[in-house]
Structures are given as C-alpha cells and as structure tokens.
Amino acid sequence: MTYFPEEVVEHIFSFLPAQRDRNTVSLVCKVWYEIERLSRRSVFVGNCYAVRAERVALRFPNVRALTVKGKPHFADFNLVPPDWGGYAGPWIEAAARGCVGLEELRMKRMVVSDESLELLSRSFPRFRALVLISCEGFSTDGLAAIASHCKLLSELDLQENEVEDRGPRWLSCFPDSCTSLVSLNFACIKGEVNAGSLERLVSRSPNLRSLRLNRSVSVDTLAKILMRTPNLEDLGTGNLTDDFQTESYFRLTSALEKCKMLRSLSGFWDASPVCLSFIYPLCAQLTGLNLSYAPTLDASDLTKMISRCVKLQRLWVLDCISDKGLQVVASSCKDLQELRVFPSDFYVAGYSAVTEEGLVAISLGCPKLNSLLYFCHQMTNAALITVAKNCPNFTRFRLCILEPGKPDVMTNQPLDEGFGAIVRECKGLRRLSISGLLTDKVFMYIGKYAKQLEMLSIAFAGDSDKGMMHVMNGCKNLRKLEIRDSPFGDAALLGNVAKYETMRSLWMSSCNVTLKGCQVLASKMPMLNIEVINEWDGSNEMEENHGELPKVEKLYVYRTTAGARDDAPNFVKIL
C-alpha cells in the first residue's frame, strides 16, 4: 500500500466515513495517519474535556462537520452544579484559527455565549448548519449574529435550549439574499417573532423541509406559511388554541392538504382538543408524532388522533394517554419503532395513568418496537418478561418507575428477573436505564447478558460493591456508566481500573465512594481525570476527620489526553 499515490489512498479512505474506522486506519503507519487526518471531514468529540480543542483543530484542519458534547448526561436532571463547565468558546475559537472550512457544528449540553456565536458567524465562510441541543448561555442576540452573517445557512436547529429572550429582532436578521434554508427549529425560543418576517423568510426558502415554530406563532401565520411550503416534511406547530376564528382553521386545513410530504408533527402546546380535528386528515401519512408538550389533551383526545396514525413509527406522548390509550396505540400503530411516555406529574410517587399493562399491550401490538422511554408508577416482573419475549429488538430500553426502589407491585419482589429477561432476550441492547427495587442480581444478569450495552443508567439500586463490579467486568462494550444513590463504594470503583480506559466516562453521585478511593484511582490511572464535585466547600471537614473520610458527593471520571482542565470552578477538585 505504501506504493500507492496519496490520492488513491485518500480515495479509498473516502469509503470509510465512520469515525471508528478512520481512527483505526490512522494507526497503521505515519503515512496513513497524515493522509487520513488531512482528509477527515467529520469529527465527533463525545467529551469536550477528553482532548484539547487546539489539538483537534491542528490534527484535522480540513474538517467540515464538528460535533462536541459537554456536560455529563445527569446534568439534565440538575445533578451537575451550574458553572461546572462545558464551554463552547475554546472549540469555536480553535476551529476559527485552524479549520476555516468548517460547515457544520453540533453541540450538546454545552455553555455557548453570544460572543462565541458572533465569532462562529464571522469565521467560516461556508458555514451551513448549526445544531444546539440542551445548551445554555446565549440569547437571541447570538442567533441574530448567525442569521446575519452566515450567508449559506441551511440548518438552524435549536432543541430544548435555555435561550435568553432579547426580542424578536433576530428572525428579521436573515438577509433577503438568504434563500438556502432547509431546516429551521426555534421551538424553544420563548418570545415572540415577527409574523411578517417569518412569512417572508419562508417564502424565499424553497428548500424548506423542516420547520418547528414556537408557541407564539398564530394559527393565521401558520396557515399562511403552509401555503408556501408544499414540500414540508416536518412541522412543529405554533399556537393552536381556539381563541381564533374558525376561518383561520379552515385556511389551515386547506393549507395542510397541500402538504403531501408531511411526515412528522410536533408542538401543539396548549392546543385545545377542538383544533385537533383540523389535523385529522394528515394523520394517515404521519410517521412521527410528538405530543409530549401538550398537557391540555386528555386520553380521549389523544386516542382519537393517534388511532388514525396507522403509519406511525415514532410516538412521544404524556402519560395522560393512560393504559387504555396505549392499547389503542398498540392496535393502530403496527409500525411503531420508538415510544416515549413522559410523566405529567413530576413528583416522586406522583400519580401516573400508565402502568405495566400499557407497556405489555404495546409490546403485543408493536413487535417492531426498538426504542423505549417509559415513565410509570408501577411495574411487574411478569410484565417485563412478557415485553422481552414480544420485543426482542430493543436497542434502547429506559424504564423509570417514579417511586425510587419500588418493588414488583404484585409480588413485592425486586425487579431483577424482569430486567434480566430484557437483557437476555434483547441481544442488541445498547442503552439501558433501570429503576424500581433492584438487588445485585440484576447487575449479575446485566454483566452476563448485555454484551452490546454501551450506556447504563442506575438509580437507587443494588446491595453492594458486587453489583457494580458485575457490570464493570461483564459489559465489554460499556462506554458510559452513570450511577446515583446506590451503595457502591471504593471496592467497586477500584475493582477494574483498566476498564476506565475503554470507557468515555463514569458518573457516581450519592454513593459510598470516599476521597481516598478517588485518590487511589488517580494514582493508578494517570490518563483519567477524577473530578470530585462538592457544591459546598467540605475541604475543611475533610482535614479534620482523619480517620473517617467523608463520602464523595459527586464523582465524574473520564479518560483524557488533555490533563486536568483549567476552567474548573472552585467546587470541582481534579485529582
């Protein structure tokens, strides 16, 4: 292979888009390393602190698409204190210096400032796509910069970010020359937008395929927009209350009729049930439906709509759908692949209208189901065993029983056998979240059977260190392990230290790990960052109690080539 000209080798590499493969070929020899790094078009950084931004920019100067993830997953649930880190600034700055050909940037759980967005908008002449998921730290002024300066912008996708609202000006910043929009999602922007600007923007975007509006957009505006977008595939509605004249709704219906390509619907917000009937004609062609932000719809509203969605593959819904509603879903949506049932009552031991019966019904009716997120207030082993037999294709299985440590509601036993069945039958399982009353036995099953498992989330489970060690020793493909409120201590932490090199990260909070254990780990594994996170300054306490070391409240361990990070706040101690 060394006698082939570089162009040929590069051409061969172009058939290897997957990052894993490209990493592998780059290890073969220096020549291949060079060819590969200069031709790499897409880089994925799963942990922004695993590697220095400058180093990535230096190694891959011709990168076109960059994806960076910041805070650990449990940050979604307020377990990571604010100001912990995950700043986008260094990445955008490094790319601005070294990778001017950048076209796409995707960031998740990062802190992005308006200044960074301004820099982004000015630094990359071919920039096309910005996707921000669960990020924070910026305002609509930052979006104004993106709109103003990114002449070739085709995708602006803002999913569930905390954005400070500084007025509707940003949407008007898209210049008249901007006609390249394919995807625009501003559902998470809380404030109003200028209806006229929005209509004009849509009018001059003939390639628009995906449009997700926020709650401020009226039915009237929506109807006008839809008249201009007959090729729309994905729509997030605005306001659908019946404060408006019925005439608006007739206009909406005739506009929707033209949207033959529409496959996915979301939004709804405080839609009144009456308005839903105007959407019924669309239902038969839908493959994706997100009703999880519509608490005003009750079970009968939901089932009337969903029973018409016979081609549905992806459904996100609130638990007010109830078990009966899920039975309707099971009998209507035979192609269902992904189901998410969210709680409408967020309190521990709160009431939920879905139980194990709804889940069993779904598993009976929808054998193609491969991805599940299910919040409920009770579960049984028998139900889980049935579900496992009916749906062996699960790749993602996340079950959250609202009350921590709740046993099988019929037998009062732990749910070990139920989850055991899931991992045994679903040989392709990559992601698993467990809940309810669980002993070390469930971890024995997971370690034994979940060979493809990449991500495991544990809460209020297990009896002893053995539990965690089953997982660390058995799950060969484990990349992310996150644990809260479980009795795993130093022995578990130190039971298989080499494993951490093969994993992206470990999170442990409210467990039994002590500072001493963390220090031992740090000394054995210098290529890891061991972050001890204490929101209150316990350092004085620690000096006083020599004999009995206090437990580490929150621990975040990750492999890194970057060493200790220099942007850590004072409540994070890096060993």
Binding site: F77, A349, Y351, C400, P407
Partner: protein, 247 residues
C-alpha cells in the same frame, strides 16, 4: 400471551410486613402495594400524593437501603428541567394574565419573581421555588399538611409564607389554590426557627391601638393571629407594623 392480572396478594402483603395500612379501606385496586405514610392522589387536584421522602428511601425493602440521606431526591424523576418548565408554562398559559410576585428567602442576597399563574397547584409552585433557589432544597410534607422546604445541606427548614391582600402574613397551603393566587402579593420563605420564636419583639415594635386609645406594645404577629379574632384585626404592611384592634 397474556399477563396474569390476578391481584390477590394478601399473602404477599403479610409476608412483606406491611401492617394495618393494607387493610384500611382505600380506593386502590385490591392488593396494590402501599407504602406506610403514602397517600394516594385524591380528587382534590391540589393534594398530589407526595410520600414522605424519608420513607421512600427507607422503604426500598432491601435492608441495605441506598445511602442517600433522607431528604435528598434532587433530580428525580429524571426529566429535563426544560421539559418541566415548558409543561408548567403551557399549563399556565390558558389563564388570562401572568401574576408575578416577589419571593424572598431568609438569608438569600436577592429576591426572585415567580408567576403564580404558571402553576397548577401548590406542589408545582414549591417545586419551582426549589429549582429557582437551591438545588439542594427538598419538599417535605408533614402529616398535618404543612409544607416545608428543607435545605438538605444544613437541615435548615423553611416555611413558605405569603402576604395577602390585607397585608397579613399567612402560611402557604391553607386555602384553595385559586384563592391563593388571587390574594397572594408576595412570598417569603421563612426560616422555621424564626417562625416559631418571638423575635419580632425587638425588630418589630408594634403600635397597638385599642378602642381609640394608643398604647405601645410589643407583640409577635403570630401571637396576635392566634389570640385575636381575625375579623377584628388589621395588620398593615409597613415595616413597623401597627396593630389596630377595632371594637
């Protein structure tokens, strides 16, 4: 394939050691497991069932209960704050106008504002206060329906109180939610210790006017509320409260 739905489990109840609670008449399905202290959601929308946090940790029937200290169930259930806030916003949006009131927490350097119209009930409001101020607060509900916010760090208890249209400081939770939203002017999370002391004597000298005679007395408002019939008393909202007892 179908799942056995037979629910007779008096045997298992006895085996688990659950006692008389199980034989009490309830609206649950027969045999559904109940935890001691746990109240099921009733028809009253405001009385969301909220088990005492300590029994949840303790009643994870395994003897090796999770090591989490009693009051710590932050971040559970695992739902993104974005989603929680968005649902709260949506639920509240059908109402006409927002009602923002100031919230003061004893010991915090600055006040916050919350929109009472955005919440459907007391539980959502307290959850929002928890999220806004400290992530390590938790809500503990006592048997007499009194709600307190507890700072799990140092065990300080805060009692939610509010000032109503008459200028009186009342305990949050007594009146129906809608009535509360209408009458509440501002909120104060008062340290529990303070609420039960008589500290006002020095800080808040009060002018007591009785039957046209002016007389300076030192009274704790709590005392007054206890001992004086409400319809006779008006507490004004000035910093030095004055008490008028009308004949």
């Amino acid at each position: 394939m179908s799942v056995e739905t037979k629910r007779s489990s008096t045997e298992s109840s006895a085996a688990s050691g659950l006692d008389f609670e199980d034989t009490a008449l309830t609206l649950r399905l027969p045999g559904a497991v109940s935890e001691p202290d746990r109240k099921r959601a009733s028809s009253d929308a405001d009385a969301d069932a909220e088990a005492d946090q300590s029994t949840i940790a303790a009643s994870a029937a395994s003897s090796d209960a999770p090591p989490a200290p009693k009051a710590r169930v932050v971040g559970w259930p695992p739902v993104r704050s974005f989603r929680k806030n968005a649902l709260a916003d949506v639920a509240g949006s059908s109402k006409a106008a927002a009602k923002f009131v100031k919230v003061a927490v004893d010991g915090a350097p600055y006040l916050r504002k919350v929109d009472l119209e955005a919440y459907a009930g007391y539980n959502q409001l307290l959850q929002a206060l928890q999220d806004k101020f400290f992530s390590h607060f938790t809500i503990r509900k006592f048997a007499d329906d009194e709600r307190k916010l507890v700072d799990a760090v140092n065990g300080t208890e805060y009692v939610p109180t509010y000032e109503d249209k008459d200028g009186d400081w009342m305990l949050v939770g007594d009146v129906p939610w809608k009535m509360f939203v209408e009458t509440c002017q501002r909120l104060r999370l008062m340290k529990s210790s303070e609420a039960h002391q008589e500290p006002f004597n020095d800080a808040y000298p009060m002018l007591v006017i009785m039957d046209g005679l002016k007389e300076s007395r030192k009274l704790c408002p709590a005392d007054v509320l206890l001992h004086v019939r409400h319809e006779l008393v008006q507490l004004s909202s000035t910093a030095f409260g004055s008490l008028m007892v009308l004949s």
